[in-house]
Symmetry: C2
Subunit: 102 residues, 2 copies
């Protein structure tokens, strides 16, 4: 199992971020071929400081294999998702490829 993890820092306008993320970006991304599951986590608290965490949201995009992941990202739908991402959150997001450790 392979995944792309998108980590978003706190946006200036959370309402506007959520609006685009859930109504536009999510649906565009969900069309990527081979994408098995998207899991979104909203962060509430930094345990050490007790305050607002550096990151606002995480999305894990799960594929059956690294090959599926690469094919998905290279597809037209993958490129459309990447383009949309850069447009609304290019300054907030870190995108990493990872694998779950058994």
């Amino acid at each position: 199992m392979a995944k792309v993890v998108a980590l978003y820092k706190q946006p200036k306008d959370k309402e506007q971020f959520d609006e685009h993320y859930f109504n536009v970006h999510g649906p565009i991304t969900a069309k990527i071929p081979g994408l098995r599951e998207m899991k979104v986590t909203r962060f509430n608290k930094n345990v050490m400081t007790g305050g607002e965490p550096e990151h606002y949201l995480m999305c894990e995009m799960i594929y059956d294999s690294m090959e599926d992941l690469k094919n998905g990202m290279r597809s037209d739908e993958g490129k459309a998702s990447g383009k949309d991402l850069m447009g609304f959150a290019g300054d907030l997001v870190t995108l990493m490829i990872g694998e779950e450790v058994e």
Copy 2:
């Protein structure tokens, strides 16, 4: 469902980190009461740069509820895990509490 997410930056000595993480820290943490699942992701690549990502590892510690999570963290086992964490990776880790968005 509630989770604690530990994000670890790249350690100087990966072998030493893995040794402690998987043989000592994981087993200590797994004893926390109410902890339903631990999912470890190893990051390979930053998609934007193509190079080494800022983060090395992520562990998601999943509980049935925020109450279970808080009780787990306050337990003796939770405190032992926190103490061990600070000892071997206090300068590498960010610990956040979050909830999965349905």
